[in-house]
């Protein structure tokens, strides 16, 4: 099937066998199936191997600084709410360098999709621990083993009442695509953490390991129950996959609540400042 988000002749910078290739296909398919318009979609990323994703997708993009995708994505959406905005990077970028922005993006609830490639290792800097690396794992830097507790993004997001929280696995294209489509369609901030093997630097959490250490939530699972979702997020032996949590209370988005959009719904660039009105206000300073 022809996909308008495909680009030909790309020199892709990923290692052969990298989970990023499947995620790239999944995202492009999801966007195509949702009939997103290239001109009205913006992908925002930080720095790292996962953050190169927008280079290989035929749409608008902002490849910014390490850790800073979420502030940029927030501002793009707020400046032009007609855009579909996807912030995509690795776990080092989103949870490490950009951890503070992750927390506050959840609180703001801007209507954006946040896709995080989670391979539990730093790839581009060659094999150091990431925020989600398992305790005890030896790396090129943590040569005696990692001593810090791994960051639990699902538990953090659910505890803060995030609007939409999901986890997926790059090895399962079909289900991951469906989860991403739900996230994009969801109104409000939606985070999807995607488990992904790193073939070069993570020999522990490989394809087989993820397969063995995860399972899908079944139809009986109630994603609106925050306490149950939090319980699920603490399962570490076998990680639950699927939509863990949706917050029914989060009915309005950040941008909808802004005074600038109270009556005028047009993107900021379409509005012209009335300078006479400013001068009138200034005259009040006499």
């Amino acid at each position: 099937m022809k996909n308008k988000f495909d680009i030909s002749n790309q020199d892709i910078a990923w290692c052969p066998g990298c989970g990023n290739f499947s995620i790239l296909e999944i995202i492009k398919k999801a966007m195509n199936e949702l009939e997103l318009e290239q001109e009205n979609t913006v992908m925002v990323s930080g720095i790292g191997q996962a953050a190169k994703m927008p280079q290989y997708v035929n749409t608008n993009f902002f490849n910014g600084l390490h850790g800073r995708a979420l502030p940029v994505a927030t501002a793009v959406k707020v400046s032009n709410p007609k855009m579909t905005v996807i912030a995509e990077s690795g776990e080092g970028d989103m949870y490490g360098e950009g951890g503070n922005h992750f927390i506050h993006a959840i609180r703001r609830n801007v209507n954006i999709t946040n896709i995080v490639h989670n391979n539990m290792i730093y790839g581009l800097t060659k094999g150091q621990a990431s925020p989600t690396t398992s305790k005890g794992m030896k790396t090129t830097l943590q040569i005696f083993g990692v001593t810090n507790e791994p960051f639990n993004p699902m538990a953090v997001a659910i505890s803060l009442g995030a609007s939409f929280v999901a986890r997926a696995f790059s090895g399962d294209q079909e289900q991951t695509k469906e989860i991403i489509k739900k996230a994009i369609l969801h109104k409000g901030y939606a985070v999807v953490d995607i488990f992904q093997p790193c073939v070069s630097f993570n020999k522990l959490n490989n394809f087989a390991w993820f397969k063995e250490h995860s399972y899908y939530l079944d139809d009986k699972y109630d994603p609106y129950d925050q306490v149950e979702a939090f319980r699920k997020s603490l399962e570490m032996e076998k990680f639950p996959l699927g939509v863990l949590y949706m917050n029914k209370e989060r009915v309005t988005t950040f941008e909808e609540n802004l005074i600038a959009y109270e009556t005028n719904k047009a993107p900021l660039f379409e509005r012209k400042r009335d300078l006479e009105k400013v001068k009138l206000s200034l005259a009040g300073m006499k």
Partner: protein
Amino acid sequence: MDKRDNFFKEDVSIVLCGEAGQGIKTIELILVHVLKKSGYNVFGTKEYMSRIRGGSNSTIIRVSDKNVKSMKDKIDILIPLDSKAIEHVADRLSDNTIILGDKELLTDTKYEIIDIPLLKIAKEIGSKIYLNIVACGVVLALFNSNLDLLNEFVTEKFESKGKAIVDNNIEAAKSGFELGKALYDDSKVRIDIKRDPKIKDDYFLNGNDAVGYGALMGGCNFISSYPMSPGTGVLTFLSEHSKEMEIVVEQAEDEISAINMGIGAWYAGARALVTTSGGGFALMGEGISLSGIIETPIVVHIAQRPGPGTGLPTRTEQGDLEVALYSGHGEFPRIILAPSSIENTVKTTAEAFNLADKYQVPVIILTDQYFLDSFYNTKKLDLDIKVDDKIIKTDKDYKRYKLNASGISPRGIPGFGDGLVHVDSDEHDEYGRLTEDLDIRVKMTDKRLHKLDSIKKDIIEPVFTGNKDYETLVIGWGSTFNVINDALKEINNKKIGYLHFTQVYPISDKIKPYLDKAKNIIIIENNATAQFAKLLKIVTGVEIEHKILKYNGMHFYLEELVEKINEVAGDK
């Protein structure tokens, strides 16, 4: 007491001092506005400590028969509102300073005080919180004014707190006025400065207002910032105008987020401002560099305060020129503007947005605490401003970084036109996609740096005043304009010329003849290392010998500049 010292006919400096929480800010707001509305030339500023309660804060009000725009060191009339107040301003007292105070508050003082029962009256009305309004009443009576305007302001200010509070404050104003009137009638203190009814129609802004209105006039419709004194005032200003002017206002989680949001907003077609102080700006360094490489505009307002580190959070300094100049790794052009007066700030700030848009570079506006907190009346503001929007509608094969002779590639935004807009903090090709092609790297670097040539043709040139046949050239930049100008008027030496810079980077080499012509050059800067003199040396090769520098956290006073300029310039 000699009558010369307690009758004021031309100029008076009044200081009211007390602790944080006593309503000093309210006194300032009310008095400067009432006096200005009454037809007086008024200059007002304040100095305060970094705390919510206690300490010593003061407001300085200078009233003159001329349109003065600076502050004197020496105090003519001091109204201390607590026991620590006199010591706090002791350096600025002279033998002629009149202290009006309540001896009940000021026990054990060695200073001569005209005793007025401020505290007793406030308590009789209901609480010592009314002390500030009693003091306002006293001051207005010394001008032989009336209570009408004061009552109007008090009513407006306290309306939301209920009728009882309004009535008490009106009573406080009246009682204070009676105290002051007795002093006037007994010829103990009289202020008989000429009024000019036209003054009530003058603009009356402080630096915060001027930067805020400048942003509005520049089309600013987005601000993301993290609160930091003294940069917060502009954030609050835009929030207060966010409804009528349709501005997106967000308090970011940190300064890194603030600048990245600002750049993201410009990318999507907004005109964004970020306001901060030096410490917050230091966190924005990587964002400045991002703006440099992706050629997405950003405007940053740095409200300077003394560093390094946390420094003196509520004081003033011109110490961040170099960080503005050198922040951000890598090589890329930028523009730095330093508004010099209330009159040119609205336009300079608005212009920052147009310049950022036109040249696709970071533009930094440098002000400082003193400038932002100071008021004076003025007849004319430069409002010859338009919003010069450079966004283009993209076509199918749009190249965000199309190479051309000027280095300025037309800037499209996502969702406007048929093209796609790619920006990349990695080195990129004309389409904005990441590249490691070293030839393209050279082309893109040249393109970015080449923009500086165009920027240099668009410089806001420095303003020269004084005699063209000067021997001594005084140079200043940014907020020192008014105090230097007032000092030079007072000195009135035909052998002095004055060159003042509002754009501090880039500066053109056209200024070199000004420097070459002078026998003496004096640089005046509110910092310790003469940062602008260093920059001038880079541009002109001229080493400036005489430096008047101040870095104790306070701005320059009129008298000290007169004295120090005279030391170098010599006789008329």
